[in-house]
Amino acid sequence: MTRQGKPLVELRDISIAFGGIKAVDHVTIDLHPGEVVGLLGHNGAGKSTLIKCLSGAYQMDSGAIYINGEKAEIRNPRDARRYNIETIYQTLALADNLDAASNLFLGRELVTPLGFVDDAQMEAETRKIMGRLNPNFRKFKEPVKALSGGQRQSVAIARAVYFNAKILIMDEPTAALGPHETQMVAELIEELKAQGLGIFLIEHDIHNVMKLCDRASVMKNGQLVGTVDVKQVTDEDILGMIILGKTPDRGMV
């Protein structure tokens, strides 16, 4: 396994509360290069909140983030980008009124020597990368609100891939997709993993978890139930962790 040496990301003892609710309660997880770690748990378990601390959308109340062994200060999404962290959010974070290229490059536009945004160049780059990720994609001129869920998701994924993410966070990337598009995302995850990215994957479908993830961390009520090596446990073991909060006898890491 690739899990020797320094972890790519360590989230140590992270806590964050909203009002009285402890959304994330002293959770510690890590991620290695070329590894997919599944984040599991019921709705409201705190998965999205935890990864938003890493992506800079939320600021944790306590705890620390280490990237390549060094303490990282992530206060906003711009900070996260500096660490090559890219996030595909559960609620698709696209500006509906802009086209695919404008969304792909949002916040990091290509500009001409005069400093104007270079729409033609951005569209050309978008066509190139979409040709690789989703060759059926045609609607380059329309605002993304005209796109299907899968097409929109491929724009969001293209954004992460284009900017050379080292750490990729995917929050239920297949929730809004049909079987064919889900397969496309699954293949993409395999490919990115082979390229050495570390991926946090929040996923409800236990079969996808067993197929795509190396390890799985299970959360319940904001707390970490445990982390298991997916190869050494069964579906039932993981479901037991999710539903009962019970750690299995084997496979704990």
């Binding site: 500006a95 509906d96 945004v117 033609a120 609100k145």
Partner: protein
């Protein structure tokens, strides 16, 4: 025969497609043309005279300049109710500077008075706008409340600055911003028209080259040529009209007398393009460039379409809000220059109700209050349409109360038509 021949319909659609014209823009131009023709008919041709078009143009400038900024404000789902009041305080500051403070220091008519006055106005507008933006962006007070407060505050701060007095006479150079006082004559107007024509053709051609370079589909050459002809025709047509408006004999005589000469017999001269209209054109072009070709403009529309997405994409949306309101404030200051110079003095009620005209212009021009949608040219056209309605009705002799009823009705009607249009094209309303 009422059934349209099918073979007629098909080429019609493809003509529209090849020209890639914006149907909403065409609709607005159509409405404007209808308004002009109807008023021209009722007034026995007095509406479409060079003189009236000239007056319409200089009356529209102040509201149109602010409307371009209001587009950004509304696109980001905010509103600015304080523009009329900010215009008033900028005007008050500029009035005090050029009538009282600067002449006392430099002496009356000193060449430094105009630029320093303008600077004072621009700084005032920028600071107030930035402050509004800070309250909205960083303190999270709704823009409606911040600017409603501003509506009450700023005009009255201006009142204290001037003790409620009317300030005048204004600096001679400054008055050139007003319109009638500052026109460029036919020669320079033709020259500018030619320059803008060349630039328009060049821009269209450059756009085509960029598409070809990336192997994107382009319009057929004839369509591109037609666009160029339309653009040049519109520019030169406007210049031709303004250049055909004769300066009255009495005014010419006074000008010659002021220069210490006598006017030759049979001498005629024409107004040409007013400086204020040139200012509006430059601002509209600059704002369009900002909206479409700069990161700032891209972020304005992204934040309007999905504020969370903009924030998560690393855009500092709070700072963006400050910049948008600051830009609005600067545009209010420029409008204050034009309005004050046109009226030839500062009065305390300058720009009263302008906030409503400016918002109406932007909205009639297709800016959606739901955010994310709006164009600069639409807002300018909206301002022109409103001013034509108002002047036309005044010319026809419609009572002032009824004028307001009509303008109000048109505002609601325009938005209703826009909603129907969007429904039909499948856009989100």
């Amino acid at each position: 025969m009422h059934t349209p021949a099918p073979q007629e319909a098909a080429p019609k659609r493809s003509l529209m497609q090849s020209l890639e014209l914006d149907t909403r823009l065409l609709g607005m131009i159509g409405a404007f043309v209808v308004i002009c023709l109807v008023f021209n008919l009722i007034t026995d041709g007095r509406f479409l005279t060079a003189r009236n078009i000239f007056n319409l143009a200089i009356q529209t400038v102040s509201v149109a300049i602010m409307a371009t900024g209001m587009v950004f404000v509304i696109v980001t789902r905010h509103i600015d109710l304080s523009v009329g009041a900010v215009l008033a305080i900028c005007s008050a500051v500029m009035g005090v500077l050029q009538v009282q403070l600067l002449p006392a220091y430099f002496g009356l008519g000193h060449p430094a008075i105009m630029p320093l006055t303008v600077l004072g106005g621009l700084v005032t507008g920028a600071v107030i706008g930035a402050f509004n933006g800070w309250l909205v962006g960083y303190q999270r007070i709704p823009a409606f409340i911040v600017t409603l407060g501003g509506l009450l505050i700023w005009r009255n701060v201006g009142w204290y600055l001037t003790d409620g007095q009317t300030l005048g006479p204004l600096d001679q150079t400054f008055r050139l911003f007003g319109g009638v006082e500052g026109t460029m004559g036919s020669a320079i107007s033709w020259g500018l028209g030619a320059l803008f024509s060349v630039l328009a053709v060049f821009a269209l051609w450059r756009g085509r080259q960029a598409k070809i370079r990336h192997e994107f589909p382009v319009k057929p050459l004839w369509a591109e040529g037609a666009m160029m002809v339309i653009a040049v025709g519109a520019i030169m047509g406007l210049v031709a009209i303004l250049n055909s408006y004769e300066i009255p004999i009495g005014r010419l005589k006074r000008q010659f007398e002021a220069a210490g000469e006598t006017m030759p017999v049979g001498y005629v001269d024409y107004y040409g393009l007013p400086i204020s209209v040139l200012l509006l054109i430059l601002i509209a072009v600059a704002m369009t460039l900002i909206a479409r070709r700069t990161r700032f403009g891209r972020y304005v529309f992204a934040a309007g379409g999905n504020p969370d997405a903009a924030e998560l994409s690393g855009i500092n949306t709070r700072m963006l809000t400050v910049k948008i309101f600051m830009l609005m404030g600067v545009l209010c200051a420029i409008s204050a220059m034009v309005a004050q110079a046109r009226l030839a003095n500062h009065t305390n009620d300058i720009g009263t109700l302008d906030e409503l005209r400016v918002i109406a212009a932007a909205v009639i021009g297709g800016t959606a209050l739901a955010g994310g949608v709006g164009t600069i040219y639409g807002a300018v056209l909206g301002a022109i349409i409103m001013q034509s309605l108002q002047s036309g009705m005044a010319m026809v002799g419609v009572d002032a109360p009824f004028q307001n009823i009509v303008v109000g009705g048109v505002l609601v009607l325009a938005v209703w038509i826009d909603i129907q249009y969007r429904k039909r094209t499948g856009e989100k309303v």
